[in-house]
């Protein structure tokens, strides 16, 4: 399959009053055509920053890509001028945002907001765009007459449908969904996930699903990348990673979650707190919380190493052990 997106050694930081917050630290990631990739991690892991870097939507004065390259269909994006990116945004790469209440403009009708996409990218007249907007609403299960309504007249789930309609209007090659169901109730979440699944098939779009919810990712994605402190620490097929997590952080994450189908007597809590982007530890960023930390973990940041055919992990201990195993089985 063809590579659609490739991120090479991305470093992103934000200027804050307390100093530089290092949000993304040496991230490498590829997305193939038609792939469904889940990007999971806790608050502050750098998931959203990664997404905004791809779209080049980082806050202009405070956020900065310090280093790294982002290739989309072979074209490097980070150095491209704004005009070029405007052609791509919403057209070839588009995004569904977390909070459907703030991502829609309250003073424009839904028709104008979805229609904007058609006017910008297809040079349609206002009237044609309006009609197209209505058609898109039908696609996401909202009656087309509601193009005349304003965002406040819709419920949370409906607003997220509107967001999906707008983002799919140009049949993008890559759809980035940033926690699209976090603000929604479970039954509404189920509706929206079903809709994304269905439309993704219909438009054969690749999907990056950003979520802190491991269940949502299992529902929608074949592959998953786990982020911690701005880099990917484990990457593989959902089957591999969920059944046999290799990184101590991923293992801890699964052990700390209550499972609806399997009652655990006690949850195994991870010690410590989520890493602070203002004050990252040297070496492996997870080392202060790691139950199997070694001396050298405090010195070197581990690289993502292939352990099995579709399973990568960035952990010095695992790298050592498993790489040997792989070698011995190969030889």
């Amino acid at each position: 399959m063809k590579k659609l997106l490739e991120i090479q050694d991305l470093w992103v930081s934000y200027k804050t009053f307390e100093g530089m917050a290092k949000a993304v630290n040496g991230l490498n990631l590829s997305v193939y055509q038609g792939e469904n990739l889940g990007l999971v991690g806790e608050t502050g892991a750098g998931k959203t920053t990664t997404a905004l870097s791809i779209m080049k939507l980082l806050p202009p004065r405070t956020g900065n890509i310090d280093k790294g390259k982002i290739f989309f269909k072979g074209v490097e994006l980070t150095k491209k001028p704004e005009e070029y990116l405007q052609k791509i945004r919403g057209n070839e790469i588009s995004m569904i945002f977390q909070n459907p209440l703030t991502s829609l403009n309250p003073v424009f009708t839904i028709g104008e907001q979805i229609g904007m996409v058609f006017i910008r990218h297809f040079n349609l007249s206002k009237k044609e765009a309006w009609k197209k907007a209505g058609e898109m609403l039908e696609v996401v299960g909202i009656p087309s007459r509601r193009v005349e309504d304003y965002p406040h007249q819709f419920s949370g789930g409906m607003r997220q449908r509107v967001g999906i309609a707008a983002s799919l209007s140009c049949k993008p090659d890559l759809l980035i969904a940033d926690e699209p169901t976090t603000a929604l109730d479970v039954t509404i979440q189920a509706q929206v996930l079903e809709l994304i699944k269905e439309l993704k098939e219909k438009y054969s779009t690749a999907l990056i699903m950003i979520s802190h919810n491991l269940g949502v990712v299992a529902e929608l994605c074949q592959n998953v990348a786990v982020m911690y402190a701005g880099s990917i620490i484990e990457h593989g097929s959902v089957k591999q990673v969920y059944k046999d997590p290799l990184h101590p952080y991923t293992q801890g994450l699964f052990a700390s979650l209550p499972d609806i189908y399997d009652r655990k007597d006690r949850l195994t809590a991870m010690k410590g707190v989520v890493s602070d982007a203002l004050n990252l530890s040297e070496g492996c960023k997870f080392n202060p919380r790691c139950p199997v930390v070694m001396e050298k973990c405090k010195l070197n940041q581990p690289k993502l190493v292939r352990i099995k055919s579709d399973h990568y992990v960035a952990c010095l201990r695992k790298n050592e052990m498993e790489a040997k195993e792989v070698e011995s089985t190969i030889s």
């Binding site: 269940g215 990712v217 700390s256 979650l257 009652r263 949850l267």
Partner: protein, 321 residues
Amino acid sequence: MNQPLVKIRNLKKYFHIKDQGLLHAVDDINLDIPAGETLGLVGESGCGKSTTGLTLVRLLQPTSGEVFYNDKDIFSLKGKESKEIRQRMQIIFQDPYSSLNPKKLIKSIISEPFIVHGIIKRKNIEEKINRLLEMTGIAKNLLTKYPHELDGGKRQTIGIARALALEPDFIVCDEPVSALDVSIQAQILNLLMNLQKKLNLTYLFITHDLSVVKHISQRVAVMYLGKIVELAETNELFNDPQHPYTKALLSAIPSFNLDVKHERIILKGDVPSPINPKPVCRFLERCWNTNKDCQEIEPSLELKSPNHWVSCIRITSKIKN
């Protein structure tokens, strides 16, 4: 089952909404919470679960109905007696960021209950605080910090310590882990369960997260639009849900357990408005299992099988009269 410590009888809480009518937030609910038990109260946003919790600790006045604490009607109590009851019934709030006063040191936040209730001498407060810190695992150096200096998990622990200060028997936990990251969530859940064992606490655990409720509670009540639609022991409810809403709710949870395949029931539409609801089943509009009787009869919570209460006329009782 132990003797109920808290009994809720026909509790109603309506809010007037200007130009629109009456919002039925909590509409005639009955619950017994036995001593030492955790009762989970689950439902989606706007179903009235937090209103129920706030009314129980008298942060809201009910429209009608009674709540008995050890057979004392807490709403009829006045003055000194009312203050005493407040010591026995405490609450832990959802948002550890807005529930702690940002201008106060952690020390004064934790010691405030002692001062308000005046039950111990000022010079003994220090000793009391030390015991609370020990119990909840808070480091002593946090006492001289302000809430903004702590992370979410630590703040929630402070909220728990404050709720425990007056040695209550009953605690309303209103979504205590919803605002926390998953790795921190487990720390707080474990702490709450340890404390319950040690101090024989009774919890009403309010949450929208069904996997959390399954983990922590002995019994679960499911709420929908101000009504309790199902009440059963935890395992029973999760293994054999009866009410169509509970079934849909359980099937809608995205699980990370790849071994379990389940049929998904996708509900149509949104939760309807709780303002001036019609006197029929609240779930009627979204239900996938209705007949024409549902249009006319308002169901009530009935015992359908041992210890399993359901509010649906389509489910026949397995209990012989």
